[in-house]
């Protein structure tokens, strides 16, 4: 084609600032997605304060605490991997990303055991024991499974996202000059962390 003229402000150019802005906007929608659940949580906790307290004793503060530490650490490692790539240390960057993924797995394994224990006690919505609980406690467990479940889903998505970035760093399409994708996966991962920062006190630390 004899097409010679191109606009300087073309939508087909690589634009680091655009992709970062896009990622932030996406994070806002994620925040409000969880926001809706926090809203439900607030209302039901207000209406059932005693029951929420009672039900929260079933959760294990230590497991939740360890998971918090794991997520915070992984947040640090992914942030460091960006620094590493910015400084040109590709290998360190990849290593730090693998550590992040390992942390994600550890988080999920612990979650698995926590959920497993609840299942055994029949606390999953619809189970027999669940149905015999007082109303407020049922709401608590319902919210617990819904919110931590959705969060766990985000952990998985974030992990996969980072895995993709690792591939791209290794083959060089994400590099010292063009690292938007890594930066965005980092932002996403921090969001996962942010949400957990609130889930932890709201479910585990009721007193």
């Amino acid at each position: 084609m004899n097409h010679t003229f191109t606009l300087p402000n073309s939508g087909h150019n690589f634009d680091a600032k655009a992709s970062k802005l896009g990622m932030w906007l996406f994070l806002y929608t994620e925040l409000l997605l969880f926001g809706g659940l926090f809203l439900v949580y607030m209302v039901y906790r207000y209406l059932n304060q005693e029951a929420f307290l009672e039900a929260s004793y079933e959760l294990n503060v230590w497991m939740g605490g360890i998971n918090t530490v794991i997520l915070l650490t992984s947040s640090m490692t992914i942030a460091m991997s960006i620094t590493a790539l910015q400084k040109g240390d590709k290998k360190l960057s990849v290593t730090l990303q693998w550590i992040t993924i390992a942390a994600a797995l550890a988080f999920l394994v612990i979650k698995y055991f926590e959920w497993g224990a609840k299942f055994e006690h029949g606390l999953f919505p619809g189970m027999e024991h669940y149905n015999s609980l007082p109303v407020g406690e049922r709401l608590y467990y319902y919210l617990y499974f819904f919110m931590t479940g959705l969060h766990a889903l985000h952990v998985i998505v974030g992990g996969v996202f980072i895995m993709v970035v690792i591939k791209k760093v290794e083959n060089g399409s994400v590099n010292q000059k063009r690292y938007s994708l890594l930066e965005n996966s980092g932002l996403y991962w921090h969001l996962v962390d942010l949400i957990w920062i609130y889930l932890f006190p709201l479910f585990y630390l009721i007193h």
Partner: protein, 98 residues
């Protein structure tokens, strides 16, 4: 346009580590208050949420780079959060005054 990332600010490893340490400290603090803090009732909820918000701000400013990014990002975040706070406020107001 902007064909490469030229970032003015690169977070140092030390800064990131320091951020992490602060977060861990705050986590211990919040657990400590809730487990050993005795019967503070609503105060513990407020404390827990306050600490969580401090942690969230630390993550946002340092890990997510808000401190060093353009002002626009902080502005947008503020708008989004105030909006959400208003949602919470109006809904709980309806329940509190029923």
């Amino acid at each position: 346009m902007d064909n490469t990332n030229h970032q003015e600010h690169i977070s140092s490893y030390a800064e990131l580590f320091g951020t992490w340490a602060a977060l861990i400290l705050l986590t211990f603090l919040t657990v400590f208050i809730s487990v050993f803090g005795g019967d503070l009732h609503t105060l513990t909820v407020a404390m827990a949420l306050f600490i969580a918000s401090v942690k969230a701000a630390v993550v946002g400013f340092y890990f997510m780079h808000l401190k060093y990014d353009k002002k626009m990002y902080r502005l947008m975040m503020t708008v989004v959060l105030s909006l959400f706070t208003f949602f919470l406020f109006m809904v709980i107001l309806d329940y509190l005054t029923r």
